[in-house]
Point group: C2
Chain length 216, copies 2
């Protein structure tokens, strides 16, 4: 006999995620779940996004990592509430983990929660956390062929941030091939070229996000 626990686990996760979403909606908090490989620049992108949006919106960050709290420390250093979730080995966040982090945030005074998922282009894709949108980051050094190899995350994302765009001259990255491959998988998703550590290109991405925060 084979027991398939994948579907029951997802069902349980999705039920709790729907409850979280109801809480977010009730408090008019927009939630974005950020997916990317290790080292693609999730935290730098979040810091740049905070810079662009903090005058208009109250922001909190939930940091998912296997171990360590280095990312949450970087966010807190900017005066932004940050909750670190250590998954203790798990390769993605689930809504039960997220709930514990959300419970310590003051939703009443927040406009935006950015979730930094575990660095992983595969597993987080399947897990709904009650977010309004999943957004992914690919960084130029990772290569233009990633949509062919990890199609699921490109299909699940409402927008694609192409980070470390300033290193384009250093790498053999075919931007046209990349854009075409993303379009095949997800024709609606805009692609935002960004150099997060330099703040370049952040404006277009921040405006896309701001329009959605204002609408909830």
């Amino acid at each position: 006999m084979q027991i398939d626990l994948h579907q029951p686990i997802l069902d349980k996760n999705d039920k709790l995620a729907a409850e979280l979403r109801a809480r977010f909606d009730e408090h008019h908090v927009y939630v974005v779940d950020l997916l990317a490989s290790p080292g693609s620049g999730k935290t730098s992108t979040i810091l740049a996004t905070i810079d662009a949006l903090r005058d208009e919106f109250n922001i909190a960050v939930i940091e998912g990592d296997i171990a360590s709290s280095v990312d949450a420390e970087k966010i807190k250093a900017q005066g932004i509430p940050a909750v670190q979730i250590n998954t203790g080995g798990a390769c993605h966040l689930e809504s039960a983990m997220l709930k514990r982090a959300v419970d310590v945030l003051d939703l009443e005074r927040l406009d935006l929660i950015i979730i930094e998922n575990v660095g992983n282009l595969v597993c987080p894709t399947d897990f709904y956390l009650g977010e309004n949108a999943k957004v992914m980051i690919l960084s130029v050094p990772e290569g233009h062929d990633k949509p062919l190899k990890y199609p699921g995350v490109f299909q699940a994302s409402q927008a694609v941030i192409l980070n470390k765009y300033d290193t384009l001259p250093v790498f053999d990255f075919d931007e046209e091939a990349f854009r075409s491959a993303v379009y095949q998988l997800n024709p609606q998703a805009p692609i935002f070229p960004v150099a997060a550590t330099k703040g370049e290109g952040v404006q277009a991405w921040a405006e896309w996000l701001a329009a959605r925060i204002r609408a909830v």
Copy 2:
């Protein structure tokens, strides 16, 4: 009631992996399981390794990907046998998948099998495939803090390849902090700085590997 299927799945995987390992040993084939993030340069490193070792050893490559066969095509273009495993969504290789690939290889005439695992710093760490060694690649653009965030893969690896080493001037990568963090987790593992696409630094890594191939 909670059913923990993690351990039974690992037990079943390990049993089959041990059978594979017996076959590898019988035929004096050395097997290395290569772990890394998406886009860290696994395939380029494999191509550079093939270049360095093909005069002395007969090599085959097993490519693990969620989807696509672009990597296997690149290997085959070099005249090296390559078998593509598409995991169909799974975030790591398991020994049952590997067995199907090994079954189509002629072990009698091989000295080395390189397994390119799915791009993922988390999940493949737990799965023994019958390999002689797991080796990991971290690329400079991913950042020196990765040992803190993904300690498991650094502990499971017998050697660490630091790829895209030629891009060190472009990124804020603290090599001393990286080496120190790796040493804390795994004092035995050598670190090989490599620029795979340029063939730089490959010799030291190739010699480490060659010594192990000759010993089986």
